[in-house]
Symmetry: D2
Subunit: 453 residues, 4 copies
Amino acid sequence: MKIIVDNRFSENSALHIPNDYMTYGGINRGIVLEHLKKAYIEYLHVEVGKAGKNGWKVLLTTKINGISDSAERYTLRLQADPLFTDEIAIDLEANESRIVQKEIYLENVSEWTPENPVLYKVRAILSDTEPMDDLIERFGFREIKVSGKYILLNGRPIRIKGFNRHEDHPLFGCAMPLQAIEQDIQIAMDLGANAIRTSHYPNDELFLDLCDEQGILVWEESHARGLKEYHMQNPYFQKQSEDCIREMVMNHKNHPCIFVWGILNECASETLYGRDCYTKQYRQLKELDRTRPRTSASNKHKKDICLDIPEIVSFNLYPEWYSDQNETAVDCIQDMMQWIRNNPVTRNKPFIVSEIGAGALYGYHTRTKDKWSEEYQCIALEHQLRAVLESAECCGVFIWQLTDVRISRERFENRPRTMNNKGIVDEYRRPKMSYEIVKDIFISYDDYFETNL
Amino acid sequence: MKIIVDNRFSENSALHIPNDYMTYGGINRGIVLEHLKKAYIEYLHVEVGKAGKNGWKVLLTTKINGISDSAERYTLRLQADPLFTDEIAIDLEANESRIVQKEIYLENVSEWTPENPVLYKVRAILSDTEPMDDLIERFGFREIKVSGKYILLNGRPIRIKGFNRHEDHPLFGCAMPLQAIEQDIQIAMDLGANAIRTSHYPNDELFLDLCDEQGILVWEESHARGLKEYHMQNPYFQKQSEDCIREMVMNHKNHPCIFVWGILNECASETLYGRDCYTKQYRQLKELDRTRPRTSASNKHKKDICLDIPEIVSFNLYPEWYSDQNETAVDCIQDMMQWIRNNPVTRNKPFIVSEIGAGALYGYHTRTKDKWSEEYQCIALEHQLRAVLESAECCGVFIWQLTDVRISRERFENRPRTMNNKGIVDEYRRPKMSYEIVKDIFISYDDYFETNL
Amino acid sequence: MKIIVDNRFSENSALHIPNDYMTYGGINRGIVLEHLKKAYIEYLHVEVGKAGKNGWKVLLTTKINGISDSAERYTLRLQADPLFTDEIAIDLEANESRIVQKEIYLENVSEWTPENPVLYKVRAILSDTEPMDDLIERFGFREIKVSGKYILLNGRPIRIKGFNRHEDHPLFGCAMPLQAIEQDIQIAMDLGANAIRTSHYPNDELFLDLCDEQGILVWEESHARGLKEYHMQNPYFQKQSEDCIREMVMNHKNHPCIFVWGILNECASETLYGRDCYTKQYRQLKELDRTRPRTSASNKHKKDICLDIPEIVSFNLYPEWYSDQNETAVDCIQDMMQWIRNNPVTRNKPFIVSEIGAGALYGYHTRTKDKWSEEYQCIALEHQLRAVLESAECCGVFIWQLTDVRISRERFENRPRTMNNKGIVDEYRRPKMSYEIVKDIFISYDDYFETNL
Amino acid sequence: MKIIVDNRFSENSALHIPNDYMTYGGINRGIVLEHLKKAYIEYLHVEVGKAGKNGWKVLLTTKINGISDSAERYTLRLQADPLFTDEIAIDLEANESRIVQKEIYLENVSEWTPENPVLYKVRAILSDTEPMDDLIERFGFREIKVSGKYILLNGRPIRIKGFNRHEDHPLFGCAMPLQAIEQDIQIAMDLGANAIRTSHYPNDELFLDLCDEQGILVWEESHARGLKEYHMQNPYFQKQSEDCIREMVMNHKNHPCIFVWGILNECASETLYGRDCYTKQYRQLKELDRTRPRTSASNKHKKDICLDIPEIVSFNLYPEWYSDQNETAVDCIQDMMQWIRNNPVTRNKPFIVSEIGAGALYGYHTRTKDKWSEEYQCIALEHQLRAVLESAECCGVFIWQLTDVRISRERFENRPRTMNNKGIVDEYRRPKMSYEIVKDIFISYDDYFETNL
C-alpha cells in the first residue's frame, strides 16, 4: 500500500495558499486501516437537548452501510451505561445504507460544564450472528443557546476568555503528539482561559477529546483565512469549502466542547460575491447541525455586509498594534460595541472579539517599551483585554494567540523570523512577560456574566 | 546661556519625518563656544587638483569676517609645513567680510590613497598686532575623476567595497563617542571594506577625520530618505535641503576621504516635480564643489527620469530579499547592468549598487534557512555580492548595512524590534554569521579594477 | 486504584541522589494493567548465536507462571513466521512456575546490522482449551564478540560513533512521547552516529524498539553516576543496584541493538571497596546474560583498579575542557591509548572513549572563541573527535552529549542555567554550530575498521 | 617615542593574576605628555575638615619640583574664587623639591553632599617672570567620621546603597570612554544607588570626577582580589601593593566622593602572614591620608583575624547563592550582624556588606525560577537586600555587581560565558528583571539613618 500526499500550492487548491501559518507536508494525523465485514457503522451521532425542566432528549442517529451482495438481517445494539440500552433489528438489501434514529428521554444525568465536564459513552454494536463492527462515541449533556447579547451554556450566560490556537510546533510541525496537544491545553487553562478557537481549520480529534475532558469551550472553524474575492472565485473554492465543512461537522458534532461553528475568517464579507459564499456556507452548517450557533471572524467591521446571517457577530481587532497609534484600545473597542448595539442587524446578537493581541519577540526587552518588545505586548494586551472584558456588551475574547507559530515563507515581510510572534508563549512554549498579565486578567473575570435573564 | 532643541516631527520639518532610522533628540554633536575679537576666520578651504604629470595645484580659499566697527589692517598667514608658508595683508572696512584666494603649485608631495592616506595640515593665522584667530585644516593630495564606467582615484579605477552606515548606537543614540565611531570604522575595515556611505545625512566631523586617517572612501549624503512627491512639496523642503547641502559641503569639503556627494535617497525621481528638485540640488552641489562627482541612490531604477543629471548612477537593489522570490540576485543585477549599458543616458557613467542586503535577527538560526535567520542572510549576501563584484560594469557596492539600527516607531511593521536588522553586526556590534562570508568576499576582490584606461 | 510515587531524595535512595541530570517526579513510562487467567507468560527470551559458518542457534526461554489453585495442563505455542513454529505441552502443579527452553538451529536468515536492521517476531501463546495469554517479542540475528582491541558485530570490527543521551526534554521531562524519542534518534543519525549510550540508567522500551528498527547500537547502562565510596556504602546500594541490573537485563535482553552492558559510571573504581561492588555487579551481569560484553565508564583512568574485570575498557575524557589547558586533546588521548596498550591488564581489550565534549551555551558567540561559546565547542570537539577516530587503538567514542539536559538544582555552580550545556543541540533540539562539525567528522569515518582479523 | 606595555601573567606580577575579571592589554587610560620648564607643580592636595560649628579648615599642600641647575626664586599663586587667593614666594636651590603648606579657615561655604554635591576649584600657578606651570584641582567641603556603628557624612549617618563596579565593557574593554563611564553612573543612580565600590583596583580619574559631580560616594580600593597566602608571599607583592596604594591616594585624595579606602579584597586575612600584610598596608594608608576610614572586604568572616585594624568592618556574603541552600539570606545576615555586635573587636565599628548578589544569565527565564534564571536573581536579591537594609546594625550594602563582566579564561568553570553574570544589567547594560526590584528597594530606603547621635 502506498500513500501519496502533496501539499504544494497550486491553482487547484483554493483554501490552501501561502498564508499566515505554515501548511506542512506529509501525513499529520492518525490513520486507521480497518478490515470490514458485511456491514459497518459509518457514524453514530448523539444530539442532546433540554426537555422540560430537568429532562434531556437524546437523539441517536446511526448510519449503517451494508456491503454484502445479498440481503441480510443485522442487530444494532446501542448501549450507554448506566443511561440506556437498546437493540434494533435492521434488514438491509444488498449494499444498502441505512440511517437509524432513536430518541430517548432522560432525567437525572450529570451536565457537562466547564467546571465539571462530565462525559458519557455510548457504544453501537452491529451484529449478525456475532459482533461485526462497533463504534464508541462520547457525549455530554449541555445545551448552547443564543439569547440577545448572551451565549447561554445550559442557560447561563458564558464569558469567553479564550485563545486562538494553531496546530503548530517547532519539533513536530502540525503532527503534534497527544502529550504536546495536552500541554497546550494545560497552558491555556493555567492562563485562566475557558475557550479555544481552532483558527483556521478543523482540528485533530485528539484535541477535541481533550477539550471535552477538560471543559474547554471550542470554536471550531472551517478552513479559510484572509481570502480575497478573487481567491473565493477560484473554481475549486466552493467544492473544497463544502467538503471541509461537511467533514468537520459530521466527524465532530458529538463533542460537547464545541459551542460555535466558524467559517471564512477575514474573507471578503464586504462584497456581494463574498456574501453569496458566506450565505451558502452558513446554510450548509445549519443543515448539518441545528444545535449550534454560527459565526465568522470579520476584519471588515462596519463594512461587513454578512452580519445579518449568523447568530453571533465576531470581529478581529488589533488596536494599539496595527491600527492608528492615536486610537487607544478602549476607544476602539467601545466604538465597535456602540456600533454593534446601534445597528439593527447586530443589535440583538452576541458579540465576540475573535482576535486581539500584539507581537513580541521572545527575549526582546527594552526599557522604552518599543513595539516587538515583551514589555510592549504586556501594555497592549492589558489595555485590550480590560477594554473587552469590562463590558457586558461583548461575550468575550479570543487572544491572538496562544503560541508563536510558523508562517509561509512568502509572507515574511511583517513576520519576523517568518513566524507570527503574537503568542503569549513562544513556539517552544516559553512564557513571555505577558503571561502573568494575561493570567491575572483572565482569572479576575468570572466564567459567567452576572445577570438575570 | 540656554540651548533649546526640539526633535518632534511637525509640518515644519520636511526632511525629519518618521523614517527607517531613529532621529534622537537633544544635542548630539560637539558644540564650541568661541570668544571673537575684531575679526575671525570663517573657513579655510583647500582644493587640490593634479597639474601636469607630477604636480599638484592647491587653491586656498579663506573667508575672513571683520566685526570691528572701524576699518582695520590684518595679516593672514597660511602655513603648511613643509609645503609652503605665505602671508597676505588684508584691509577690511568696518564689518566687512572678505574671501581671500591663493593658488600654489607643488611637486614631490605624498598622495592620499586608501593604502597610504597621507594627510597634511595647513594653519591659517589672522593677526593685527598679535594673533587674533587661527584655524587648522587637514587635506590630502588626491583627485577624483569619472571616466566612462570607472571612478578614478588619482587615475586608478577604484572598486567600491562599502557599507552603508547610520550614526546609531544602543548605548549612545546618534551621539557616539569618538571611540565608538572608530570601532565602527575598524569593523568595516576588518570586513575588507574600503568605503562607507553616510546614509542618509551628513556625518559627524569626527567620522570624516577618522576616514581621512584610515583611507576610507566616503559617499557623503545630504539629508533625505524615501520622500514621496508630496513630501517634497512641503513648503520647507527646498530651503531645508539647501541649508543641509550648503552646510555639508562648506564644512566638509577639505576631507580627502569624500569621493562623491549624494542627495535624495529613494525620493521621487520618477516624477516631473521630483526631477525639478533633483535638478536644483545637483546644481547647488556643483556650485559649491566643482571637484567631486554627484549621485543619488535610486530605487526607481528603470523608471527614474533623473539619471541624466549626475555623473554617477546608483541603484538600491534587494534581490532575494524584498523582491520576487523567483528572481535570483545574479539575474536581477545582470538585468540592471545591461539596462544601464544599453541606455544612452547611463551608458557612459559609472554604476554603483548603493544598497544591497538582507535582514537577519541576531541569534535567530534555522536549519531550514528561513528568511530572518542568520543563515538566510549569508546566502542572500553571498549571491548579491558576487553578482555585483564579479562584473566590471559596476564600480562596486555599499552593503546595507554595517550595523543593525533603531527606526522610528511608526514604521514598526516590517521592522522587527523596531530596528532595521540588515546589519552584518547587530546593534551591539556582535558579528552575525554573514560576517565571515562578507569578509571573505570583500578581501578576495582588489581595491582597483585591472584595466588599461 | 491509587498509585503513589515519590522522587524525593532520601537516605533510603542510594542511586537517586542530586546529580548531573534531573530526576523528575511522577509516572514517566507506560503502565499496563492486565487481567490474568490461570497462568501467564512472564517472559520469552530469545538468545541467538552463530552456529557454524552459515547457521544460527536460537535459544528460546519462556517462563510460565501458573496461578491456578489446581494442577493444569497447558500448551505453549512458539511461532516465528517464517522461521519456525513449535508446540510444547506443559503440566503445572498448583501455583507452579516453570521455565521452558527450546533450542532451534536456523540457516538462511537475514542478519541484523546497522545498515540493514532486519527484525523477526516470535509469538508465544499459552492455552488450555483456548488462548489464555500471549507475548510477542522481536529479535534479530547478530552476534557481539570481543577480539583483542576490537568489538566484532557479526564478525566485523565496529567503529563506535556515538552519543550519550539522557531522557530529558524541556516540554516533557523524562516522560518523552514516542515522537520526541524518535526525533532524538533521527538527530543522532543525521549527525552520522551509529551508537547511543543510555547514560546513566536503563531506558524506555520505546527507545530500544526504535534503535532496533534503525540499527543504532546501544550501550545500556544500569543506574549510577559519580558515586563516591561513601555513596556506595549506603546500606541500600547493593540491593537497589541488583534490582536495577536484573530488571534491565531481564526486560531488555532480546533487543539486538544492545551491544554492551554498562555499570557504575564514574564511581569509586579506584578503591578496594569500590572494586568489591564492581565485581559483584559485573558477576550479576554475566549470570543474567552470557552473550554481551560488559564495561564501565571510568574517570579514574590510570588509577582505576577494576579494569581487569570487564571485557571492554571505557574512559570519560574531557581534554581541552576541564583539564589542564596546556594539554591538547591529541596529547591526552594518545597518552591514554599508550597507557592502555602498555598495561598488561588492558593491553588486549577494546577501548572506548565513553564521554568527550565541551560546553556551549546556545546562542553565545564570541569572535575570541571563549569557553562556553559555540565557537569554542567547535574547536574542542574537532580536536577531540579527530584524536580518537584517527586511531585504531580505540573502538570509538560517545560524545557527551546529544542534547543539553537539566540537572539537579544542588549542582548549579558549574552548570550554567542549571543545565549541562554540552549538547550538540540544545534542549529544544536547536543545532549549535558544532552540529556541522560533528556531522562532517562522523560521516568521514566508516562504521567498520578496515582490518584483517 | 615608543611605549611598550605587557599584560602577560608572570611570576613578576603579584597582583595581576588570572582572576574573576579580565585584565586587558594595551594602554587603557589617558596619557599626557608635558613640556616642562625650570620647575613644575607635582601635586596640589586639598584637605578639608570641620572647624568649629560653621567653619572649615582647608590645608593646601603643594609640591614644587625644581629642575633648574641653578637656584631660582618662584612665586606660587593659589587661587580659589571666590574663597581665597594667596601668593607665596619660594626660593629653590638647584633641582630642589619643596612641599609648601598653607592652612586657611573659611565660613559660609556650600557643603558637598550626595544631594547637592557642590565643588570648588583651586588653581595653583607657578611663575618666575611669567607663568610656567599650573594645576587646577577640584575639592568639596565634606567630612567623613566614624562614630560607633555609623559612618558620618558631615555629621549625618549615611546609609550605603551601592554597587560594585568593574571597569569593563564589551566594546571598549577597560578603556571606557567618558560617555560610557557616565552611563554606568547614570544607571547606578537610576537604580537608586548612592555609592560605588571600585572593585578591585583604583579607577580612572574620569570616573572619580563624575562621582564628585554626581554626589556618588566611592569606596576606592587598591589592587588585589582573592589572594591566598602563597600569592601574598610573592616577592613582588609588598612593593607592588605599596606602589599601587601610594599612587591611588596621592592622585585621588582631593576627590570628595571617596569616603573610604579599601585594600586586599578576599585575601588571606585568616592567617598570621596575611595579618602582617594587612597591617602594613593599613599603616601606609593612614600615613598617606589621615582623613578617611579604612576597610577590607573579607570573606573569612568569623575566621578573620584582621578586623581590629581598620575603622570599618566589611564582609562579602552570598547567602542563597553559593552558600548552603538551607540558610536563608535573612538568617545568614542576622547571624553575621549578631556576631559583629557581640565581638569586642568589631562591636563598636560600622559594618558594611561589601558584596552580595546572585548570578543570572541575561535572557534566561524559567517559570521554575532555577538558579541562573533572571527570576531566581530577583528572589535572591530581594531577600538579601531587605535583610541588610532593614537593620541599623549595618551601614549598607554594595551589590555585586552593576554589570556583567568578563573574567580570565582560566576561571571559566563556574563562570558561564567566561563572565561573571551577577550584574543587574548585562555587559551591554541591558537591564535584567532584577533591575526593577533593586530600584524599588533602594529607593524605599533613605540615604541617612534616622537617629539621634
